[in-house]
C-alpha cells in the first residue's frame, strides 16, 4: 500500500469506461444504486479465487458489469458488441502508426 501520488487513471481505457458509465448515469440511463450493487456483486465473484489489486482487474469487473447491464436493457446486445469489437480490432490493425484510428463504416 503506497501513499505516493498517482494519476487519476492508470490506463486510457479505464478513463473511457469510467466516463461512459458516469455519462449514462448523468443522462438518467443508469441508476447509481443499481450500478453499485451489480458492480459489487461482480467484484465479489472475481475476488473468490484471488485477491483483486484494484488495477486492471477492478476495471475488468467494471466492464463486465456494464456490458451485462447494457445487454439486459437491450442497449447493447452481446452479438452487436462482439461485431463492433472485431470492427475496432481491424481498424487498429489497418491504421498506419500515428494516424487516428477510425471505423470504416
Amino acid at each position: 500500500m503506497t501513499t505516493a501520488p498517482e494519476p487519476a487513471f492508470l490506463e486510457p481505457w479505464h478513463a473511457q469506461l469510467f466516463a461512459l458509465t458516469v455519462h449514462l448515469n448523468d443522462s438518467g440511463r443508469l441508476d447509481w444504486g443499481d450500478w453499485a450493487a451489480r458492480f459489487g456483486a461482480t467484484l465479489a465473484v472475481h475476488g473468490l479465487d484471488r485477491d483483486l489489486d484494484g488495477g486492471d482487474d477492478y476495471f475488468n469487473a467494471w466492464l463486465e458489469t456494464l456490458e451485462a447491464i447494457l445487454a439486459d436493457v437491450g442497449a447493447a446486445a452481446p452479438d452487436e458488441a462482439a461485431q463492433l469489437r472485431e470492427a475496432w480490432r481491424q481498424a487498429y490493425l489497418n491504421t498506419p502508426h500515428g494516424a487516428p484510428v477510425r471505423l470504416s463504416t
Binding site: 500500500m1 501513499t3 473511457q16 469506461l17 455519462h23 448523468d26 447509481w32 484494484g54 447494457l70
Partner: protein
Amino acid sequence: MRVKALETILTRKGLVDPAALDEIIDTYQNRIGPKNGAEVVARAWSDPAFRGALLRDADSVIAEMGHYGRQGEHVVVVENTPEIHNMVVCTLCSCYPWPLLGIPPGWYKSDAYRARAVREPRRVLAEFGVTLPEATAVRVWDSTAEVRYLVLPMRPEGTESMDLTQLSELVTRDSMIGTGLPKSPR
C-alpha cells in the same frame, strides 16, 4: 476495444454523446482531486461556523463552494478528535467522495483494503504509518452509493499563524480517507 465497442454502439443509438465523455474525463483528470477536499478542510480548521455547517450538512456547504457535485449522492463529514479516529472504506465496491477527492487510489479499490479495513483497522493504519494512542477509538465508515464519507482530520499543532493556502497544503488525500494524518508544519 471492448470499451470502444460499447461506446460506438451507444453513440450510434444516440444514447451517448462523445463530447460529454471527453468532458467527464477532463474533469476527473484535471479539475477535481484531493485539493478540493483540502480546501474544505483548511476552511473548517480556520472558521468554526463553517466547520459547524460542514458537519451538519456537508452537501449544501460543498455546493456553495462550487465543487462539482453529482445527483443522488450525499457527503457526510466525520471529524477526528483525540478520542475518535475515523477511517473510510467501501466494502461493496469503491464508493468515494469524487467531487472532493477525485478518483480513488488503487489500494482503496483493492480486496485487501476493502476486507481488512473493517476487520483489523489498526493494523491497516500501522501499514500506512499511522499509530494512534491506545485510548483513541477507531471508527470505520462503510461508504455506499448514496452516502460517501470525508474525514475531517485534526488540525496539526503549530499552525496557528497559517493562512488557508498554507493549511490546505498540509492536508493529504489519505488524511481525508483516514489512512493518514495531515503533514506537520516545518
